[in-house]
Subunit: 300 residues, 2 copies
């Protein structure tokens, strides 16, 4: 086991809490931070460190930022009471939110100005893998940043893709992954509901297609939610408004035409606009079903 280090995990949503627990389980001292005080207290009850981030920031070896987007990441690092001003020299920030590659590069530069290391480290795998400490991390940063982050990466992940020394390369790979996962999610919904118009029941769809050339990781992971009529959010529709938006912003800046991404986003927008933004992303199937007069499993 690595020597215990001092770590803060900022953001105790389902991903952050899983990461905090995994790092704690690996024997490190972990401060959980969240705007929801109940989450913090619950984590302290599990063995998390007590105290206020403002007071203990100078002790930290690493801070894992598991917030929703770029604005929150920037706020945590450089806002009023920003973390960077308080960290000790050589402490490392692991930035896990999905952000534009250019943003990650800019954050790394600003951190470097005050001697703070920055690891561009978006994550993939969902809350179950976060909880188990078996995430995939698409990481990029200096050798020093990797070195400082290693005890935390080891505790939270099964696979670390080391994508070079330039912050932004991790976020670029994450954007590519999100493009595909988002398109695959909407495509799964399109195919499942198209099948219903042709007499293919959702259960048969899942059984057959998951063993054929039409399968995808997302199909195997999400189609069961539709078959079960269970839209409890493991990953919500609104995540795609954000993540496919990031892809399209980066694509536009590069003058890259991404018609499938744009089309998939429209379907998630229709889902969110019709009140499904907080449901599981598989609920994009409800847009297709409604448009075609179909009744999905579990619906009246």
């Amino acid at each position: 086991m690595a020597d215990p280090v001092d770590v803060a995990v900022i953001g105790l949503g389902s991903m952050g809490l899983g990461i905090a627990r995994s790092v704690l389980r690996a024997g490190h001292r972990v401060l959980g931070v969240d705007i929801d005080r109940a989450r913090v207290d619950a984590f302290i009850a599990e063995g998390g460190r007590e105290g206020d981030l403002r007071d203990v920031a100078g002790d930290l070896d690493a801070a894992v930022i598991v917030v929703v987007n770029a604005a929150q990441t920037e706020h945590v690092l450089f806002g009023p009471d920003g973390l960077v001003a308080k960290l000790k020299q050589g402490a490392v920030v692991l930035a896990c939110a999905t952000v534009e590659p250019a943003f990650a590069g800019a954050m790394a530069e600003r951190c470097a100005e005050t001697g703070i290391l920055y690891l561009d480290s978006p994550i993939s795998g969902g809350s179950i893998k976060a909880e188990a400490g078996t995430l995939s991390v698409m990481a990029a940063g200096s050798a020093d940043a990797f070195s400082a982050a290693d005890p935390v990466l080891e505790a939270m992940s099964e696979t670390v893709f080391r994508l070079g020394d330039k912050a932004g390369a991790g976020s670029a790979m994450k954007a590519v992954n999100q493009l595909l996962a988002g398109v695959h999610c909407a495509a799964m919904a399109e195919a499942l509901t198209f099948g219903m118009t042709q007499g293919v029941e959702p259960k048969a769809f899942l059984e057959v297609i998951s063993k054929c050339a039409g399968t995808s990781w997302i199909l195997e992971n999400r189609a069961p939610h539709i078959v079960a009529g269970d839209y409890d959010p493991r990953s919500a529709v609104d995540i795609w408004l954000k993540d496919l938006g990031i892809v399209l912003d980066a694509a536009k800046a590069a003058k890259f035409s991404a018609p499938l991404t744009a089309t998939a986003l429209q379907q998630f927008l229709a889902a969110s606009g019709s009140g499904l933004g907080g449901e599981d992303d598989s609920a994009v199937a409800k847009v297709y079903a409604r448009n075609a007069g179909l009744t999905l499993p579990g619906e009246a």
Copy 2:
């Protein structure tokens, strides 16, 4: 081993030849039929039966039709010298082309009028699995049709999805599969080339994404062609003009809105229109690359 039966395989392209060889290997008597006489002679040299289909049709227990589309299937069955008029009562037709579900239903009815059994049996798996006798078959038809087809199905496939007694159910599932495979192929190309604009090399794309939530069967099968710069057609761009066209025709008839399918088809149309119709379907990436001023591996 099943008792030897008399089988004709109509269409000795890469799929049909693989099926013919697999059925021959299983100990059956196999007549290979193709408009290209050289293919027929080559198959006879491998042990195929000699003779003309018109003369031996009355001996056949089964005819496997591995042609490109509905028009060719109908021509083989009911055109001048159509097979159905010559088959003996209780012989079975295995119709493997991707066709609209309604077409499969109509063919089965017309066959039944003269006592010929019809198994709606589109295939999935590509030429390597055809050669190995390990295809997946999405099959639907009467119990008698399945029964008569069993020795052939056993020889040509690893998995037979038995999708009920109504011809058309197999073609419906195949259409669903093609919708996904086609969208996934274009999405893979979109993501790979988008990644290049963000500094992600195609090789790194394949290595990382194939292990992440963005993966699909098609990505793992086709992205290596792009990485290798090898567009020798295992499955050609123009196949998608046909297959996604079938999906959209069936969708339109059902008043089903399929925006991702329609968008993917546009990308394959652009590929075909720019002279890539006969290349491997992964060549749809060339459309994206050209639009974005990118140079794919192996290109000048």
